[in-house]
Symmetry: C2
Subunit: 291 residues, 2 copies
């Protein structure tokens, strides 16, 4: 552990995408999505540990993008990720682990990469694995990110809705990002472009949720329990929509509680992913590969 | 107050520039500086109040960029700014008040501007007033910002050093930004470009401070008490340099304390400027001008 404050852990906020259009490209740094979403105070804590292998909430897992990130940085390390977020339900957990690994490994091994370089490494790894298109750049930014142009830093263009709010969510189960993204995304992307146009015209939270709801309907992704919950929140005067891509409903303020659900509660996260302090653990030999 | 959580205040981190090159342009959105600095947990809290006029730490003041920002947003409002930072000593206080005003007024008056638009409004106001070139975009970003290309969002390009650290500082007095920037900046800018090249090559905190120190010497801006303090920190093995533009010395970690000074202490700020919650005050009528 060579970071001068003894840190080799990062916190990455969860990210709910409200709507998006898919923009594949041969170069994963140029590929990505346009759209908008909410970053969340509920997120993923990622620590670099001695040894090898990736653990998520204490269980050994295989997360494609993470192995990519470690390879790209030329380091051998273990990764220990902890999160309260539901997995595979549209919260950007795989992107968060990839980005957190990049930040924490850079610190632990003195890789001397810039933040844009680390975001690029994680974005490319996520896109190449097919597990996401826009979570990493949104999670690196924080707040309520608008992805105006797709891609990693240098290609993508981000903006944000200047607002903070309480967020409620409830996850009914998984939806495979890989499956949706590998199918025909033309209808979905056309709906996503329309939603983005609306939010760029009026960048407020209420326009964001309204555009997200229209997107979810137009893209044909709603499942019954998701549609029912959104409807129930609307019936009590609240704002809710579906997290892309998961069988998850999110609402602003107390929307889901008001509708009689028992949701998880957090807030939008003011900041993007960042290093965190942690108790010094066993030392990791600093052996960052050639950059 | 129409923001749904009753907020009309923003926190903007202080910003110490370690080195820079000046890049004037006819369009203030394209003008700016390249360079690098530290954003600080010590910053400025800016609240929108009923009435008119700007108050800084309870005293009526005139801050050119702030009046510009309110004009640009088409709102009439009072601005109440509070800070523990020294004024005019290289902490970006004028930029912070401008940016905080933009964020808080947008929320209070439902102006429906995006974050990039608000940063642009504040950046243009600051550049047009001659009070700064790069603080606003750095303060909007947070962390340890590298300004790779000058200008507001859409023109400027930012990156960052992925690190967090304790920062100590001591201010010996004011230095007029207007005066330095209105003089011949060629020597200074050439030194700034060399420093930036080094930091882009090795984006670490120690390279940043080292490049900053070389810049301060090459640019001929050191005053005696500043040079003495930097020297004293170096003598005890610490890293210190001068805040641009102020008669201020900053050090990483415990550099100034170790050298026997009694500095102010804070940390790098993980996030950029953002809205904060505050107790609901008297209502401000929402009358945002045409955008």
């Amino acid at each position: 552990m060579t970071n001068d404050d003894g840190r080799s852990a990062a916190f990455v906020p969860g990210h709910i995408t409200g709507f998006f259009s898919a923009h594949p490209a041969a170069d994963p740094a140029k590929a990505g999505s346009r759209g908008a979403g909410l970053t969340l105070t509920d997120g993923v804590q990622v620590a670099i540990t001695p040894g090898t292998g990736v653990r998520l909430n204490g269980r050994a897992v295989s997360i494609g993008p993470v192995e990519n990130v470690l390879d790209e940085l030329g380091v051998d390390a273990g990764v220990d990720a902890e999160t309260d977020l539901p997995i595979g339900a549209g919260f950007g957990v795989s992107g968060a682990v990839a980005l957190g690994t990049a930040l924490a490994a850079n610190a632990a091994f003195d890789c001397a990469r810039s933040e844009n370089e680390l975001v690029t490494v994680a974005h490319r790894a996520e896109v190449a694995s097919g597990t996401g298109l826009g979570d990493v750049v949104a999670q690196a930014r924080g707040g309520v990110p608008i992805r105006r142009e797709p891609g990693a830093p240098g290609y993508g263009v981000l903006d944000g809705i200047p607002a903070r709010t309480r967020v409620e969510y409830i996850a009914f189960g998984e939806l495979s990002t890989e499956e949706v993204l590998s199918g025909d995304t033309r209808r979905l992307s056309a709906a996503g472009e329309r939603a983005l146009e609306r939010v760029l015209e009026t960048p407020t939270l209420s326009t964001f949720v309204d555009a997200s709801r229209t997107f979810a309907e137009d893209a044909g992704l709603l499942t019954t329990e998701v549609a029912d919950a959104i409807e129930a929140v609307s019936a009590v005067g609240g704002d809710a929509s579906m997290a892309m891509l998961g069988r998850t409903v999110f609402a602003l303020g107390t929307g889901l509680s008001d509708a009689g659900y028992d949701p998880s509660v957090c807030r939008t996260h003011a900041t993007g992913a960042s290093l965190v302090e942690r108790d010094p653990g066993p030392a990791v030999p600093p052996t960052c590969g050639p950059s």
